[in-house]
């Protein structure tokens, strides 16, 4: 019985898909709109090295991955005030080289199938904040979630 248990343990180790053992998604930079004036929209480009969001992916060379964003419609601020956000059809960017200067744009509102060149890649995100003319002053926050399925 003791031998049998040893065999089982080794078998489970091998049963885990290779992808599950060597993949990861890490958020490395938030999407920061900075200071906004009431009534004046502010767009952050996905190529903005300081303010665009960045996720770093670890996958497999020549592998594929499906990228799916969960995007907030608003940020929430003082006393429950909300600030509208808009994500456009070119606000997502995938870089197989992890270079912000070398991205392939995509629509972050729909799933995107990316292909790795090496085992690392980056995803960038821009967007637009639209404060109203009567927007309550203060700090606003929201959350973006990126789900990546590695193939």
């Amino acid at each position: 019985m003791r031998a049998s248990l040893t065999i089982l343990s080794l078998a489970f180790g091998a049963a885990l898909p290779l992808a599950a053992q060597q993949t990861s998604v890490v958020g490395v930079r938030p999407l920061a709109f900075g200071g906004l004036f009431p009534g004046i929209p502010r767009a952050v480009l996905r190529t903005d090295p300081a303010n665009s969001a960045q996720f770093d992916l670890k996958g497999h060379p020549n592998g594929s991955a499906s990228l799916t964003f969960l995007l907030p419609a608003v940020m929430t601020g003082p006393a429950g005030a909300t600030l509208p956000l808009v994500f456009g059809g070119n606000d997502g960017g995938f870089s197989a080289s992890q270079s912000i200067a070398s991205q392939v744009g995509f629509d972050p509102r729909t799933p995107y199938l990316a292909t790795f060149a090496s085992n690392r890649a980056s995803v960038f995100l821009g967007g637009t904040a639209n404060p109203s003319v009567s927007q309550r002053a203060g700090t606003y926050t929201g959350t973006v979630t990126l789900t990546v399925v590695f193939f």
């Binding site: 049998s4 091998a14 998604v25 930079r29 999407l31 709109f33 009431p38 940020m75 959350t143 979630t145």
Partner: protein, 166 residues
């Protein structure tokens, strides 16, 4: 089948299932942040009053420090850049108008000895005061020039100031 053999078969089956799926899912969350500055408020807190003026006496007006000068108070985000723009309606009484010329100054402290507004109807860039309060004060003066045959009566008009962030 021997017990050990059964376990090995089960393990092999799991290996096959994993290889067939070959997928892994990961996710990460990221914050989205912004800070909204204070809205701008503009208050017209003193009217521009020419009082009694007389036909044929040339241009008649007041000094910047006069209590008859118009006065606006502006507040917003400290040290923010703003643009002031103006809409001035004719000084009129029915179909009669009284020739009007305006000028003024602006200052981050409530003192008329500030920067000149220049050509009055054009937009003027300014910076709100620093510190805890973002303030700007505007003084408006002018002259009216009644003609020798100016129709007597009360003439009124408006000076509208709009301030926006730049």
């Amino acid at each position: 089948m021997h017990t050990a053999t059964k376990v090995a078969v089960l393990a092999l089956a799991l290996v096959a299932a994993g290889a067939a799926t070959g997928q892994a899912q990961n996710n990460a969350t990221m914050n989205v942040t912004a800070t909204v500055f204070r809205p701008i408020t503009v208050a017209a807190d003193r009217q521009l009053v020419f009082g009694n003026v007389f036909p044929g006496q040339g241009a008649q007006g007041m000094a910047l420090a006069s209590p008859s000068a118009g006065h606006f108070s502006i507040a917003g985000e400290p040290s923010a850049s703003v643009s002031m723009s103006w809409v001035v309606s004719p000084l009129s009484q029915g179909a009669n108008t009284l020739p009007l010329s305006l000028s003024g100054t602006y200052n981050t402290i409530d003192n008329p000895a500030g920067s000149s507004l220049g050509a009055f109807a054009s937009s003027t860039a300014a910076t709100l005061s620093g510190g805890a309060l973002g303030q700007l004060f505007v003084y408006v003066i002018g002259t009216v020039t009644p003609a020798a045959n100016q129709v007597p009566g009360n003439y009124t008009g408006t000076v509208q100031l709009t301030v926006i962030y730049q």
